[in-house]
């Protein structure tokens, strides 16, 4: 990814202190940096918690991919909050900031006392003063309580939480929107305020409307039994997925080279096809096992059928054709060697995201000033 380094950022007027010490909080601040804010990561003397969270580049576990991903584009400052000097430094930093992101239980009053215009953002697992404030949150815990996990996986197996930290990250996106909303209010009325995001709350809000359906009529669809017309089959070059709308059934059969299925009594009528769907999946699997999946997907998409190849993470690098033409990856040269950063979540026509500076070493400040 390349872009005009001199173009002003959309949030070029915003200065941020990241004291969040969480995936959600640091991702929120990373997005603020992406779109032009000057962001300073406030780290304890031993370094941010995310520096010691994997996956790691090296066997010695000193270089965290997680930390790098969450903190490109930020400066770092070391603050020992246990010392009076550290607290004084923090107050000075807060005086000059527009936004600060903190964990639950942080002394917000001390920040408010030095800066009435500050947007103070609390990002935490279960919030403050709730019946579960004292609970420990990790990604699987959020997924379990979201109402989503129970629907993931096979009917005859245990539910699956997913992969990585997706709810935590999405809480970061929600926190970003909270900050922007509060900045909007401040911009229009001059009034600053506290805002808050709980990861568990975000996770619950990401769930398909099962709870409303239950409220409507008491029904509940069990895992793996929802009858979605989704086929996942393995081809010679990997897995592909096809979503078969009723009106697409004939064209899918034609493209897969199995026109006899169109009139097969097991699948002819919509209701029969639904009842015998697994038999159809088995027929397709037999047919495509030695075919090139990407060619099938191309042919299906040419007929407007929803289909896609299943990519392994290591197939999504610099050489991935679909990302290359999009100029997706940033490459960043650092003293330690070339580093990669993922492309932007959204592309602004007038104020594009700049190539980020590398994630800071402890106490390092080199991200360009915002003002």
């Amino acid at each position: 990814m390349t872009s005009n380094q001199d173009a002003p950022g959309a949030l070029g007027f915003v200065r941020v202190l990241d004291i969040s010490e969480s995936i959600a909080g640091q991702f929120c601040c990373r997005m603020l940096a992406d779109y032009g804010a000057e962001v300073t990561l406030v780290e304890p003397p031993k370094g941010s918690l995310t520096r010691s969270m994997g996956p790691f580049r090296d066997a010695g576990k000193t270089e965290s991919f997680l930390f790098e991903h969450l903190n490109v584009g930020k400066n770092s400052v070391v603050v020992d909050q246990a010392s009076a000097a550290g607290q004084a430094l923090l107050r000075d930093l807060a005086k000059a900031a527009d936004v600060v992101v903190v964990p639950a239980g942080f002394d917000r009053a001390a920040l408010r006392a030095v800066n009435a215009k500050l947007i103070i953002t609390t990002v935490s697992p279960f919030g403050e003063g709730t019946p579960k404030s004292h609970w420990r949150g990790t990604e699987m815990i959020y997924q379990a309580m979201s109402g989503m996990m129970i629907h993931n996986g096979r009917h005859d197996r245990e539910p699956l939480y997913g992969v990585g930290n997706r709810a935590s990250y999405c809480a970061g996106v929600a926190a970003y929107s909270s900050v922007l909303s509060a900045l909007m209010v401040r911009e229009r009325t001059g009034v600053a305020q506290d805002v808050a995001i709980d990861v568990a709350h975000v996770a619950a809000s990401m769930t398909y409307p099962f709870a409303l359906q239950y409220s409507y009529n008491g029904s509940f669809e069990e895992r793996g039994m929802r009858g979605q017309p989704l086929i996942e089959v393995k081809c010679r070059d990997g897995w592909i997925a096809i979503w078969i709308r009723a009106n697409h059934f004939p064209v899918v059969c034609e493209i897969l080279g199995m026109p006899e299925m169109i009139t097969d009594p097991r699948f002819a009528a919509d209701a029969d096809r639904k009842a015998n769907f697994q038999q159809f999946v088995a027929e397709v699997q037999k047919k495509v096992a030695n075919s090139i999946g990407s060619e099938i997907v191309n042919a299906l998409q040419a007929k407007r059928v929803v289909a896609a190849c299943c990519f392994q993470p290591n197939q999504l690098g610099l050489e991935a054709e679909h990302l290359k033409v999009r100029d997706y990856w940033y490459t960043i040269d650092t003293q330690a060697g070339r580093r990669l950063a993922l492309g932007p979540q959204f592309r602004l026509s007038r104020t594009p995201r700049r190539v980020p500076t590398p994630a800071p070493t402890l106490g390092e400040s080199k991200a360009a000033g915002a003002r």
């Binding site: 420990r136 619950a204 409220s215 929802r226 919509d270 209701a271």
Partner: protein
């Protein structure tokens, strides 16, 4: 097609705009369908914007579930009623607080009405495949000729350029391309997509964040802009550390149910009941010792097989047995509470009924009753935004199809009764779908 009765239109209503919320005074026009786009609009509406969801009566939002074979479990009392497109739980979950304008852009006067509305709008958000706006004659330049202050957000699955730009997509297929499904499974190599499409709410949070960015930038600088939200590329950010590791080292994540390669136990365990589970994530030796005490097996804390994280990972099949023997005797909520009280990350795996009963979510007023004229009063699930001075919540149930046609035409655009009647006669605005 099914034999459908002649339908009568829904009643017209004239809602009051929001006051004192972060986006009060902003108007956003929404051309979307299904989940990601409508949820993005729902977020903006909840934050105070007047969001006008344009839904042509001859091409309904797919989440109005107006399909030939209705899934009865989508409707109140499993009954579609006369106008089941107004009673669909899917649509009604994602369109709270919105204005419904059932406008056919291709019918006489349709584009003129759309233009007049855009002239009075701050934002336009869409989630169709790229090129749809251009084909209708509304590329960026044309839009800015109508309204130079318009912020435009498009949410294409794969971006507005590139080899996949014209591909159709749904959450479950986008999740495959994002590198996520291959990283979830039972260890047999078969990818697993999230039961209900997880990429849709992710796209919604991104789409609404994009609109907020453009609106705030405009508020500060006076300049509007176009924002492209390529949903798959955006979602890749949410597994960024996994992608960086895989791309740089070639190593894909370990896939074996809920188990992790570097921490154990990290799994679900059966509890009392059918398909009821407790999730347990032990992240340190101290938590392991606490868990052993809770399950009444303190001797396991000093068992060499489980002494360190590495040993627990190596012997995770053996440690599952005593945990399951304990959990099977307990209610999932009780099991989770006992563990959390001892400092061990744990949670009941919720079903819908648990979501409605959860003390934490209820403390957040996550499920609140909203009255819908055709669907009745039900508990609707909310959004996670919390503001000290401008608190937001869902204020109004989702609109019936075309419920605000007259509000938009008369109150917003200042059209006369005769002009509105003419648009209705021409079928440009309707509140009854095609059979």
């Amino acid at each position: 097609m099914l034999d459908r009765p002649k339908l009568s239109p829904a009643k017209q209503t004239f809602p009051e705009p929001s006051k004192g919320l972060p986006l009060s005074g902003f108007r956003v026009v929404e051309l979307t369908t299904a989940w990601a786009g409508p949820m993005a609009g729902r977020i903006l509406a909840c934050l105070g914007a007047e969001v006008v969801h344009i839904e042509p009566a001859n091409n309904l939002d797919s989440w109005r579930s107006y399909t030939a074979l209705p899934l009865l479990q989508r409707y109140p009392k499993q009954d579609g009623g006369e106008r089941r497109y107004n009673r669909a739980s899917l649509f009604n979950s994602q369109n709270t607080d919105k204005i419904s304008l059932s406008l056919d852009l291709k019918a006489p006067g349709g584009k003129e009405t759309f233009k007049d509305l855009l002239a009075k709008a701050d934002g336009l958000i869409t989630n169709f495949t790229p090129g749809m706006l251009q084909r209708l004659g509304f590329g960026n330049e044309a839009l800015w000729a109508i309204n130079p202050r318009l912020c435009i957000v498009e949410m294409p699955a794969y971006g507005n350029s590139g080899v996949m730009k014209s591909w159709t997509a749904l959450g479950p297929t986008m999740e495959q391309v994002a590198g996520m499904c291959a990283s979830v499974g039972y260890g047999d190599g078969r990818p697993v997509s999230t039961g209900p499409a997880y990429l849709d709410p992710i796209g919604a949070f991104h789409g609404s964040a994009a609109m907020l960015t453009a609106l705030l930038h405009r508020e500060h600088s006076g300049h509007s802009q176009h924002v492209e939200v390529p949903q798959v590329e955006a979602a890749m950010q949410l597994i960024g550390e996994i992608l960086l590791c895989a791309v740089e080292t070639g190593k894909n994540p370990h896939v074996n149910g809920n188990k992790l390669a570097d921490s154990a136990p990290h799994d679900v365990f059966p509890t009392v009941g059918t398909d009821e589970w407790v999730a347990i994530d032990v992240t340190s030796d101290a938590e392991w010792a606490a868990l052993c005490k809770v399950i009444g097996r303190p001797e396991l804390a000093t068992d060499q097989r489980f002494a360190t994280t590495a040993e627990r990972v190596r012997h995770q099949d053996e440690l599952a047995e005593p945990i399951a023997a304990w959990s099977k005797q307990r209610d999932k909520h009780q099991a989770a509470t006992l563990l959390q009280d001892a400092g061990v990350p744990a949670a009941a795996v919720y079903k819908a009924v648990d979501t409605l009963a959860c003390d934490y979510l209820n403390a957040r007023a996550f499920s609140i009753p909203l009255d819908h004229p055709e669907a009745g009063t039900h508990l609707h699930q909310g959004l996670p935004y919390r503001f000290e001075k401008t608190p937001v919540k869902h204020r109004r149930a989702a609109p019936c199809l075309g419920e605000h046609n007259h509000y938009v035409l008369k109150n917003v655009l200042g059209r006369s009764d005769a002009e509105v009647a003419e648009l209705e006669r021409a079928g440009t605005i309707r509140s009854v779908p095609d059979a």
